[in-house]
């Protein structure tokens, strides 16, 4: 019985990993931007599933609420405000593709480097309390500055969106 649970947990893990990767592929390759967003949704939901596997329901739900519920819906908004969907999509330009590939390769190398250099410990050995209350307290004490800086980034993004929207509106009218 125990073996079966183990096997099912393993299977579920790989299914979630597969969904995440499939979502990432859909997010990047199709030329249809609605597919891209929905692929991104799938990938981010998969990441939320991975957080649940790591034992933090809270982070998983927050991932869903913030990245899927807020960020992806905001991206949808941006798409709706941009060029009409039924128009022919322009060809991908080679320099742009190369630059994007280079940037993502750099990022991937950095990520792999960091994860190889980190000495990973099983969660049980770390033995720290990661309850919601602790996370909240840490966010408002030790990581206060990081928290505030992140909100500043969001503020800048909102201001940028307003400026961009206002600019394009002045152009059309």
């Amino acid at each position: 019985m125990n073996f079966m649970t183990e096997a099912m947990a393993q299977a579920a893990f790989w299914i979630v990993v597969g969904l995440t990767l499939a979502g990432a592929v859909i997010a990047v390759f199709p030329r249809n931007i609605v597919y891209n967003v929905l692929g991104l949704v799938l990938a981010l939901t998969g990441v939320a599933g991975l957080y649940v596997f790591l034992g933090s329901m809270f982070i998983g739900l927050m991932q869903l609420l913030i990245y899927v519920g807020a960020i992806c819906v905001a991206i949808v908004f941006a798409i709706m405000l941009s060029r009409p969907l039924h128009l022919e999509v322009p060809q991908r330009k080679l320099p742009k593709v190369l630059l994007a590939a280079m940037a993502s390769c750099l990022f991937a190398i950095a990520l792999i480097g960091v994860s190889l250099r980190t000495a990973w410990k099983p969660a049980a050995e770390r033995g720290t309390d990661w309850s919601v209350a602790t996370i909240g307290e840490l966010l408002l004490t030790r990581y206060d500055l990081v928290f505030e800086v992140i909100s500043l980034v969001l503020l800048v993004a909102i201001l940028g969106a307003i400026v961009t929207a206002g600019f394009s509106r002045r152009l059309t009218s």
């Binding site: 019985m1 125990n2 649970t5 609605v34 597919y35 929905l38 949704v41 939901t45 329901m57 809270f58 739900l61 927050m62 869903l64 609420l65 899927v68 519920g69 807020a70 992806c72 819906v73 905001a74 949808v76 908004f77 709706m80 969907l85 039924h86 919601v132």
Partner: protein
């Protein structure tokens, strides 16, 4: 160990079957009730032919829907078109995991139950968007866009209203929030939050007067214009089940959950109180729909961003200040 796990599985499967059966039955009943309420408000009788007072009417309608042909428009994006009605129903099912029907009648009493419901409810917007876009129809796309805009606008005050309740109980677990209301319901301590929650919940479920995503007179049927048969039925089912869920959440957060008024249960079990309050709230939602005219889109947006959002923020600040200094 083994039998314990088996019982866990049986618990989940039985819970799932009950939830599925209940959501169908509930939707059948609510559609009938809606037509009856609409009829009586407009001085008509509503459905009267099938069964006593037309109670079997929606069953006949349901059988008709199941038997109808599933049409996929030629120019539609068929992959998303087919998957959207399934996607819209999935978050609805998840919500039933944590709804507290009675003190011990919960499938899973999670410490993040409230968060779970709101995290998953955002998925249904994306499903509506996928369906409306995939249909490749102007009205459907307009309805989908409106739905996204409306959901973004009303999600924020809704969450802020819930947050002020969570601040008072210092918990996101439904059972603890309900237990804290055994004497005084939170609607009396948090009337502003309760009102904001009800208004935003009406908007989130795309109900009149906030039903501009499917405004019949301008958009035919909004995002589900091109859907037929049981695919349309699933959207319909999801809408009515969503109404039940928001009413149940409102009952648990503001109207005392399974408690009777002021701690008197009058010998009735908790689930009776809970369902009674949920269906009273559902009746109110229908009453509102057939009383108020539909708002205009700009009115809707202005109301959310310029009235509801500042009000809910103010309410949250006052709640925090009162809790801190008293």
């Amino acid at each position: 160990m083994g039998s314990e796990m088996a019982s866990d599985w049986i618990r989940i499967i039985v819970g799932l079957i009950i939830v599925l059966a209940f959501s169908q039955l509930n939707a059948l009943f609510l559609v009938w009730l809606e037509r009856k309420v609409a009829g009586h408000i407009q001085l008509r009788y509503g459905p009267m032919e099938v069964g006593p007072h037309g109670i079997l009417q929606t069953i006949a309608d349901g059988i008709k829907l199941v038997g109808k042909e599933l049409i996929t428009p030629l120019s539609a994006d068929w992959k998303l078109f087919v998957i959207a009605p399934v996607l819209v129903f999935m978050p609805v099912l998840v919500a039933f995991l944590v709804l507290p029907f009675d003190e011990n009648l919960v499938i899973r009493d999670m410490n993040l139950g409230v968060l779970l419901i709101f995290a998953f409810s955002t998925l249904s917007v994306l499903a509506i968007l996928a369906g409306g876009w995939a249909a490749n129809n102007k009205y459907a796309l307009l309805g989908a866009i409106r739905s996204v805009a409306q959901n973004v606008a009303y999600e924020i005050p809704l969450l802020l209203a819930v947050l002020s309740v969570a601040l008072m109980t210092q918990s996101l677990r439904f059972s603890e929030i309900v237990a804290a209301q055994c004497r005084v319901w939170f609607i009396f301590l948090q009337p502003v939050a309760g009102l904001i929650f009800l208004i935003c919940a009406t908007a989130e479920t795309n109900r009149a007067p906030f039903d501009i995503p499917e405004a019949e007179s301008e958009l035919i049927a909004g995002f589900h214009t091109e859907y037929s048969g049981m695919r349309f039925g699933l959207f319909f089912l999801a809408e009515y089940t969503n109404m039940f869920i928001v009413s149940a959440v409102a009952t648990a957060l503001f109207f005392g959950g399974w408690h009777g008024p002021f701690g008197f249960s009058f010998g009735l079990p908790g689930i009776v109180w809970f369902l009674l309050k949920v269906y009273i709230l559902l009746f109110v939602i229908m009453w509102v729909r057939w009383t108020f005219p539909r708002v205009r889109f700009d009115q809707l947006m202005n109301f959310s961003w310029k009235v509801m959002l500042p009000l809910s923020l103010l309410n949250l600040i006052v709640t925090a200040a009162v809790l801190k200094f008293i």
